[in-house]
Symmetry: C2
Subunit: 232 residues, 2 copies
């Protein structure tokens, strides 16, 4: 289907990649409100970065802004989607259907942008066989179907074992919510999400008065600006 996958090669810097989804979220908000144009200044204020940073980031996706008039919100959204590969579909398997697993699969915002829910696994007999988010929960000790990404939502003690099983099932990208460092073979990507770390970072800044306090803006995911307190 997607034919626009040609020149995605331009490599983006890590900080840019982390900011693009944020800009996209902002663009969507603008779209919902029926607005049609946005400029780098506005994006920057909402995202908590400078307008220049926004322009540099977006320039990396090709020049689609209009001098004097900013960016078309639809095009902005679209281009970011292309850059991030949202035209491709991905299968996401979720292991561990507790509170967190449920919250994720039921969230209208987790499985978006190409991500589609594949199989759910758990080892609790009470949970196995029940329907969650339109999928029957499968037993963890049964066969694991291939998927693009595996989401690990099990307790820390089980995380390594689950990771091993997913890797054996040829799943080479993991999103790990367990507070546990896991070891996987080279060539497998692991991304960690750790709520308490977010809380700790927030508290550190609170204690020290430093850091991304200023402005009530989107300092998403711990991304820091060199100059967080824009002098206004």
């Amino acid at each position: 289907m997607a034919v626009t996958t040609r020149l995605r090669a331009r490599k983006l810097s890590e900080p840019t990649i982390a900011r693009l989804p944020v800009y996209q979220r902002i663009a969507e908000g603008w779209q919902r409100r029926g607005l049609t144009r946005i400029d780098s200044q506005q994006i920057g204020e909402l995202a908590g970065v400078t307008a220049t940073t926004v322009r540099r980031d977006l320039a990396g996706l090709g020049s689609f802004g209009t001098r004097g008039a900013g960016y078309d919100v639809n095009v902005l959204n679209e281009r970011i989607g292309e850059a991030l590969g949202h035209d491709r579909k991905y299968d996401v398997a979720v292991v561990g259907i507790g509170n967190l697993g449920r919250a994720l699969v039921n969230s209208s915002n987790f499985l978006i942008r190409g991500a589609q829910l594949a199989d759910l696994y758990d080892n609790d007999p009470e949970v196995i066989g029940t329907e969650v988010a339109g999928h029957i929960v499968k037993p963890l000790n049964g066969p694991i179907a291939r998927a693009t990404v595996g989401v690990v939502c099990v307790p820390a003690v089980a995380a390594q074992e689950v990771a091993d099983r997913l890797v054996n099932a040829d799943i080479h990208a993991l999103l790990n919510f367990a507070q546990q460092v896991i070891t996987v073979p080279l060539g497998t990507a692991v991304h960690y999400v750790d709520f308490s770390i977010e809380l700790q970072i927030l508290m550190y800044h609170l204690n020290n008065g430093t850091g991304p306090l200023g402005g009530g803006l989107l300092h998403s995911l711990g991304i820091a600006t060199a100059n967080p307190l824009r002098a206004t």
Copy 2:
């Protein structure tokens, strides 16, 4: 109470702050396994960063390593705790006791390191008055008690309103799980956690073969290394 708050002043860089909790988690893992010493090389491998980076980060907390023998795991854990301000206690209020809110307050790893659960709020009559994690859920339209940090786990549409109420209740640090950019007055810190963004970043790297794929190591929270694929 805390008396050890004297020379915490040494300001740490943003990337360092984000890595310290990770090192600490590694130290704890070592402790649990009864190991007593760890060196920068080992920390680096588990954390997905170079040994030099680890040493630089830790040097910022004062020199407590032993040349030739690495770091004492207990001291390591302790020093990071001091640097991050874990000797202080914080009250954490949670708004929105759905799946996610429940998952958070029941997680043994969310409310650690000085964070203690204060009040829970929701606007669902079914939920108000019930006991969750040892606390009775209070109505969101009632009075909001002062707390250090407010955790926002409500749907996106309600996020701004909830944020306003928390700020009015003199809560000036928010951890926002809603997929919604919120605006707060200057002087209030907002930290965003957005699962779908984590997923998107992971997928980008998967598509492009770049980035923190190599090693199955702790590339926590989207923190990137300049040289992720260490040549081994």
